[in-house]
C-alpha cells in the first residue's frame, strides 16, 4: 500500500525521539499517482522524523481540496482537523490555543488559500499563529475536475475553461505584505529543498508560509495533453470519463540546483517552468529585498525558490495572550470558575 507514498531511504532506524519512520506515516494516499502533493507528504514525514519531533506534539490542519486531503497521508499519530474550504486558518487559530506547546502543520491549496480563503489566509499571517502553513500550489482545482485557481497563469488554457484572462495571485507576496514572519517557496520536484525548508519552517516560532509548486498531473494540462486521456478512455470502455486518470511519473529535478541557478523544468503538459534559486548572500531578514526579488522574478517569469523572508523577533499568537504555563485545555474547574464569594461582588457591581 505504500507504493503511492514512496519513502526514500526508509530504514528501521530509530531517531532521538525513539521512533521509527513508520511512526510518522499516515494512511495510503488516494491522490493521483505522480501528484506532487504525495512527494510533499513524504518530505513532511522525513523532516519530522529527522527533527525527532514527537507526533503527538503536532496538530494537522487542512481546508478542502486535493491538498487538504493530504494530512491523512502523514503522521497518523497526530490529531488532525480537515475543516472547511478556505477556513483552515480559523480552525487552527482556535485549536492551537488549546495547548500552546503544540506545533501546527497545515496543508492548503491555491484554491483553498488564494481564492475562497484569501481573507483567512491573510489574517492567519498577520496573527503569527504558530504553525507551518503549506500551500500545495498547482494553479488548478483538481477535485472539481479542472477549473482555474487564483494562482493560475494568465493565458493558461484548460479543457472546459478556455483561456485564463487574469493575472495570478502570488501567495508569497500576499503573505509578506500581510506581515508573515517566514515566507518561502519551493518546488515539489525538488525534495531536498522542500525538506530543508520544512525543517526551517518547523523550527520557526510563528507562522511559516511555504508555497510549494506542486504540478497537477491530471488537470493542469493544455488541450493537446488530453490526447492520452482520451486514448485511455477509448481503451477502458466501462470507465466513466472522470474515473480514469492516466498514471504519470512525478516530476523530479535530476540534480540539485546551485544558489542563484536558473533552470527550466518541463511539466506533464509539456509546458516549462523556470526555477530560480535565490542568490548567494541573499538576506532573508531584509523585507525590502524580499519584495524586490519577488517583483523581479515576476517580471522575468521565474519561479523563485528558497527562504524569501524571515523575522524571528515577533511573538507568536499565543505568546501575545500571556497564557498560563499549563496548557489551557488542562485547566480544571478550580482554575476556571470564579470562587463562590465572588458572586456577591458581581451582584454588587450591578445597579
Amino acid at each position: 500500500m505504500t507504493e503511492t507514498l514512496p519513502v526514500a531511504g526508509a530504514t528501521a532506524n530509530i531517531n532521538l525521539a525513539g521512533l521509527s519512520k513508520n511512526d510518522y506515516r499516515g494512511a495510503p494516499s488516494t491522490l493521483c499517482q505522480g501528484c506532487g502533493h504525495n512527494s510533499i507528504s513524504n518530505q513532511i514525514v522525513t523532516a519530522l522524523y529527522e527533527m525527532n519531533i514527537v507526533p503527538e506534539n503536532v496538530v494537522k490542519f487542512s481546508g478542502i481540496g486535493c491538498s487538504s486531503k493530504s494530512p491523512t497521508y502523514f503522521l497518523n499519530r497526530a490529531f488532525g482537523f480537515n475543516s472547511l474550504h478556505g477556513r483552515m486558518p480559523s480552525i487552527a487559530t482556535g485549536a492551537l490555543f488549546g495547548d500552546y506547546t503544540l506545533k501546527g502543520v497545515g496543508v492548503s491549496g491555491d484554491g483553498d488559500s488564494a481564492s475562497i480563503g484569501m481573507g483567512q489566509f491573510k489574517h492567519v499571517m498577520r496573527r503569527n499563529v504558530n504553525m507551518v502553513y503549506i500551500v500545495e500550489n498547482n494553479g488548478v482545482y483538481g477535485l472539481t475536475k479542472g477549473q482555474f485557481s487564483a494562482t493560475a497563469d494568465k493565458g493558461l488554457k484548460l479543457k472546459k475553461q478556455g483561456e485564463n484572462p487574469y493575472m495570478p495571485v502570488d501567495i508569497c507576496m500576499e503573505a509578506l505584505v500581510s506581515n508573515a514572519t517566514f515566507v518561502a517557496r519551493s518546488f515539489a520536484g525538488n525534495p531536498k529543498q522542500v525538506k530543508e525548508l520544512l525543517k526551517a519552517a518547523l523550527s520557526h516560532d510563528g507562522i511559516a508560509l511555504l508555497d510549494i509548486i506542486s504540478p497537477c498531473v491530471t488537470f493542469n494540462n493544455q488541450v493537446n495533453a488530453y490526447h492520452s486521456y482520451t486514448w485511455g478512455k477509448d481503451h477502458e470502455e466501462p470507465l466513466h470519463e472522470i474515473s480514469y486518470i492516466a498514471p504519470r511519473n512525478e516530476i523530479m529535478l535530476e540534480n540539485e540546483m546551485a544558489e542563484g541557478e536558473v533552470r527550466e523544468v518541463s511539466m506533464h503538459d509539456g509546458s516549462v517552468v523556470i526555477l530560480k534559486n535565490l542568490e548567494k548572500g541573499y538576506d532573508p531578514a531584509d523585507r525590502y529585498a524580499a519584495l524586490r526579488v519577488m517583483e523581479e522574478a515576476q517580471r522575468n517569469n521565474w519561479m523563485l525558490t528558497g527562504l524569501l523572508y524571515l523575522d524571528t523577533s515577533k511573538p507568536n499568537l499565543t505568546s501575545i495572550y500571556n497564557l498560563v504555563d499549563t496548557p489551557l485545555n488542562r485547566l480544571t474547574e478550580a482554575d476556571l470558575r470564579p470562587a463562590p464569594d465572588s458572586i456577591d461582588r458581581v451582584n454588587a457591581l450591578m445597579f
Partner: protein, 650 residues
C-alpha cells in the same frame, strides 16, 4: 383630578448621539431605587448621530412592566420628531418639550410644559460651553423628577453608578438635574395626574442587561476562548467578557486562563471557536442573525464533527440587514435546522436577564456533554435594555466536561477506543483532544463521512449509522436542557406557549384575558429545544394552544407542528414581528382574534363564568407580577417549573 400613582409610561424623544441614554438610564434607575417595578426600552435607529431616537419607561406597581403602547408622559427634545411626539400623547397625558423648539402646539387635551433647556444649561457657570450639549438632557431629568416625584437623591445614586464614582461628571450632571428641578418647582404648575411614590417592590433586586448577564454567566461557566465579530445587538456581550474576565479570572502571576480574539468576520469567529472547542476549551462566540447566516457552514461542520461550542444569537429583526436595532425572535427555525443536510440544534431560550446568566454557564455543560454546538437565543430587548432581575446565582452544579479520555483513561483502555463509538447507547462517544500524549489518543476530524473510529468512509451503511446516532444524541439532549416554566391558572381551558423575552407581556395579557374576558389560561414558557417531556404533557392538555412569538410566520409553531403533528390542529399562531418588544396588547388581541369560545362551551365555559370572581385572586397571586418585579414571585415561578419537571419525569 384623581392621582395616578406608580402606573404610567414615559417616552422621551431625543436626537441619537446626544447623550440621552445617560439621562434616560438615570430616570430608570432612580425609579428602580424608589422600589417601584420599572422597565426601560431603548428604541434607537441604526445611526451614530442625528436620527430621532426614543426611550420608553414604564413604571407599574403591580409589576406589569412589559413594553406598552401608552404614551402618558412624552418628553420632546428633538424638533424633527416634535409633531409626531405631540400627536402620540395619550389624551389626558403630559407633554414636556424644549422651548427652543418653535412648533405649533396642536393638542388641547394634554398638559403642556415648555422647558427652558438651553437657558438652564447656560446659566450654570460650571458647565464649560463645549459640555452644554452633553448635559442638556439632564434638564428634563430634573424637571420630570420635580413634576412626578422622583427622589432626587436616587438620581444621584444613579449618576454615581453610571460615572463609576467620578466626581466631576457626577457633579456637573447632578447640578443640572437640581437646577431643572428648582426651575420646575418655581415655574410649573402641575396639570396632569401622574405621580410616583416609593414602594418596596425592588428590594434585593438588581438591574442589568442580558448581554452583560450572558457574559458573566459564561465566565462562571469557565469560558476559555471567545472568537467574535462586532454586530448590533450582540457586540456588548463580547465587550462585557473583555470587561469582566480580567476582574473575575485574575491570577497572582498576572497570566491568563482565557483568550478573547476579535476575528476578521463571523466565519472566522465561529471557526476559531470550533477549533478551540475541538481542542478541549470551553469556547463561544456571540452574534446576531446576519452573522449566524455566515456561520452556517461551520455550524453544520461542528454538528457533524461533534464539536462542543456555544453560540449566542442576540436576535434582531431581519432578513438581511432588516431593522438592525430592533428586536425579534426571527432566527428560531433557521437556528434549529442550521447547516445543510440533516441537522438539528440544541437551543437554549433564556426568558430574562437572570436566565441569560444561568444559561451563560449551563450552555457549556450541555455543549460538552452532548458534544455539539449549543445556541443561546436571546434578543435585542433582553440583550441591550436594562431589566430588573433577581441577583445572579452562583452555579449550583459542578462543571460537566462530558466524556473525555485523558492519557490515564487510554492507558486503562489499552488504547482501545473509537471517537464516534456509541458505547453507552446515548449517542455520545468519548473524545480526546490535542496535547494528549498517549500514542493512541489522536483521531482525524472531518466533515466527510466517517466511521466509529473516525476513519474516512463513503459507505452507505456507515453514513446511516452515524446519522441515526446523531439523532439519538438529540434525544439524549432532552435530559440535559432546562425544563419549561409553567404559569398555571386555576380552571384554565386554553394553553399559551411562548419563549424568550415575551414573558412579561404574556403574563400581563394572561391577567387581562381573565379579568376582562373570563378566559383562563395556562402559560408554558419553553426554555429549550429539543422539547422536554413537560412540553408533551402541556400540548396534550388543551384543545386550543396559542403559540405566541415575535416573528411573522410563527417559527416555534412550525417546529412544534413537525414535532407534534397530532396536536397541530389545536395550535393557534399568534405571531407578530414589527421590531418592537412584545406588549400585552398585541398578545391579548392576537389571542382574542383566534380564540374560539365554542371550544370552551359546555361545563367549562359555565364554570369559567362562575369562577371568574374567585379566580381573580388566584391570578393576581400566580400570574400577575412579572418576574422582574418581585423576588418572591420569581421563586414561586421557578418552583412551579420544577414541580412540573419532577412530576412528569417520575
Amino acid at each position: 383630578m384623581n392621582k395616578i400613582i406608580n402606573d404610567f409610561s414615559i417616552t422621551v424623544g431625543t436626537v441619537n448621539g446626544s447623550g440621552s441614554s445617560t439621562a434616560n438610564n438615570t430616570i430608570l434607575r432612580a425609579i428602580f431605587k424608589m422600589g417601584i417595578p420599572v422597565s426601560g426600552k431603548n428604541l434607537f435607529p441604526s445611526n451614530i448621530q442625528g436620527l430621532p431616537t426614543w426611550y420608553t419607561i414604564r413604571a407599574n406597581k403591580d409589576g406589569f412592566i412589559a413594553h406598552n403602547e401608552q404614551r402618558d408622559i412624552v418628553i420632546a427634545m428633538n424638533p424633527n420628531s416634535f409633531a409626531r411626539d405631540l400627536a402620540s400623547v395619550t389624551p389626558g397625558g403630559a407633554f414636556y418639550y424644549a422651548d427652543d423648539i418653535k412648533q405649533p402646539i396642536t393638542r388641547a387635551d394634554v398638559a403642556i410644559y415648555p422647558m427652558p433647556v438651553k437657558t438652564i444649561v447656560r446659566n450654570d457657570p460650571n458647565v464649560p460651553s463645549d459640555y452644554r450639549d452633553h448635559v442638556s438632557n439632564m434638564v428634563y431629568v430634573g424637571i420630570l423628577a420635580q413634576m412626578i416625584g422622583i427622589d432626587i437623591e436616587k438620581m444621584y445614586a444613579a449618576l454615581d453608578f453610571h460615572f463609576k464614582k467620578k466626581q466631576k461628571p457626577i457633579d456637573m450632571n447632578f447640578n443640572i438635574i437640581k437646577a431643572g428641578a428648582e426651575w420646575a418647582k418655581t415655574n410649573l404648575e402641575k396639570k396632569d395626574s401622574f405621580y410616583l411614590e416609593p414602594m418596596n417592590k425592588t428590594d434585593g433586586l438588581i438591574m442589568a442587561d442580558g448581554n452583560m448577564a450572558g457574559a458573566l454567566g459564561a465566565i462562571y461557566g469557565g469560558v476559555q476562548f471567545v472568537g467574535w465579530y462586532p454586530i448590533t445587538p450582540a457586540t456588548s456581550l463580547a465587550e462585557s467578557l473583555n470587561d469582566y474576565l480580567p476582574q473575575l479570572r485574575k491570577r497572582e502571576d498576572g497570566k491568563h486562563t482565557y483568550a478573547v480574539v476579535q476575528a476578521e468576520d463571523e466565519l472566522a469567529a465561529l471557526g476559531m471557536s470550533i477549533g478551540a472547542g475541538w481542542s478541549g476549551l470551553r469556547a463561544m462566540t456571540s452574534t446576531s442573525g446576519p452573522g449566524l447566516s455566515l456561520m452556517t457552514e461551520f455550524a453544520g461542520l461542528a454538528y457533524y464533527a461533534e464539536v462542543p461550542v456555544v453560540i449566542w444569537d442576540v436576535q434582531r429583526i431581519g432578513p438581511s440587514t432588516g431593522l438592525p436595532t430592533r428586536t425579534s425572535q426571527g432566527d428560531l427555525t433557521f437556528t434549529y435546522f442550521i447547516g445543510h443536510g440533516d441537522s438539528q440544534s440544541v437551543i437554549l431560550l433564556p426568558g430574562d436577564v437572570y436566565e441569560c446568566f444561568e444559561f451563560g454557564w449551563k450552555s457549556f455543560d450541555i455543549a460538552e456533554r452532548i458534544q455539539t454546538p449549543v445556541f443561546v437565543l436571546s434578543d435585542l430587548d433582553m440583550g441591550m435594555n436594562q431589566w430588573i432581575s433577581k441577583p445572579f446565582k452562583y452555579p449550583d452544579t459542578p462543571m460537566d466536561r462530558g466524556k473525555i479520555l485523558l492519557e490515564s483513561d487510554l492507558e486503562e483502555l489499552k488504547g482501545n477506543w473509537g471517537r464516534y463509538a456509541d458505547t453507552d447507547g446515548d449517542g455520545i462517544g468519548f473524545r480526546t483532544f490535542p496535547g494528549n500524549k498517549h500514542p493512541m489518543s489522536s483521531y482525524f476530524t472531518r466533515g466527510t463521512g466517517h466511521d466509529d473510529h473516525a476513519k474516512y468512509s463513503e459507505e452507505a451503511d456507515v453514513y446511516l449509522n452515524n446519522m441515526d446516532r446523531l439523532k439519538r444524541k438529540h434525544v439524549t439532549a432532552k435530559e440535559y436542557v432546562p425544563a419549561p416554566v409553567l404559569h398555571a391558572m386555576k380552571g384554565a381551558t386554553v394553553g399559551i406557549l411562548a419563549y424568550g423575552s415575551t414573558e412579561a407581556a404574556i403574563l400581563e395579557a394572561q391577567h387581562q384575558l381573565d379579568k376582562e374576558y373570563g378566559i383562563k389560561t395556562d402559560f408554558l414558557r419553553i426554555r429549550a429545544l429539543p422539547c422536554t417531556r413537560e412540553v408533551d404533557a402541556f400540548l396534550a392538555k388543551y384543545d386550543q394552544i396559542f403559540i405566541v412569538e415575535m416573528n411573522r410566520d410563527g417559527q416555534m409553531a412550525q417546529i412544534l407542528m413537525t414535532e407534534y403533528p397530532q396536536y397541530a390542529p389545536n395550535f393557534k399562531v399568534v405571531a407578530y414581528g414589527d421590531g418592537m418588544p412584545a406588549s400585552a396588547k398585541w398578545v391579548r388581541e392576537g389571542i382574542l382574534a383566534k380564540y374560539e369560545s365554542r371550544k370552551a362551551v359546555g361545563g367549562k365555559q359555565k364554570a369559567a363564568g362562575n369562577m371568574k370572581k374567585a379566580a381573580k385572586k388566584v391570578v393576581a397571586k400566580k400570574a400577575a407580577p412579572a418576574k422582574k418585579a418581585s423576588a418572591k414571585k420569581v421563586t414561586k415561578k421557578a418552583v412551579a417549573g420544577k414541580t412540573v419537571k419532577k412530576a412528569k419525569r417520575k
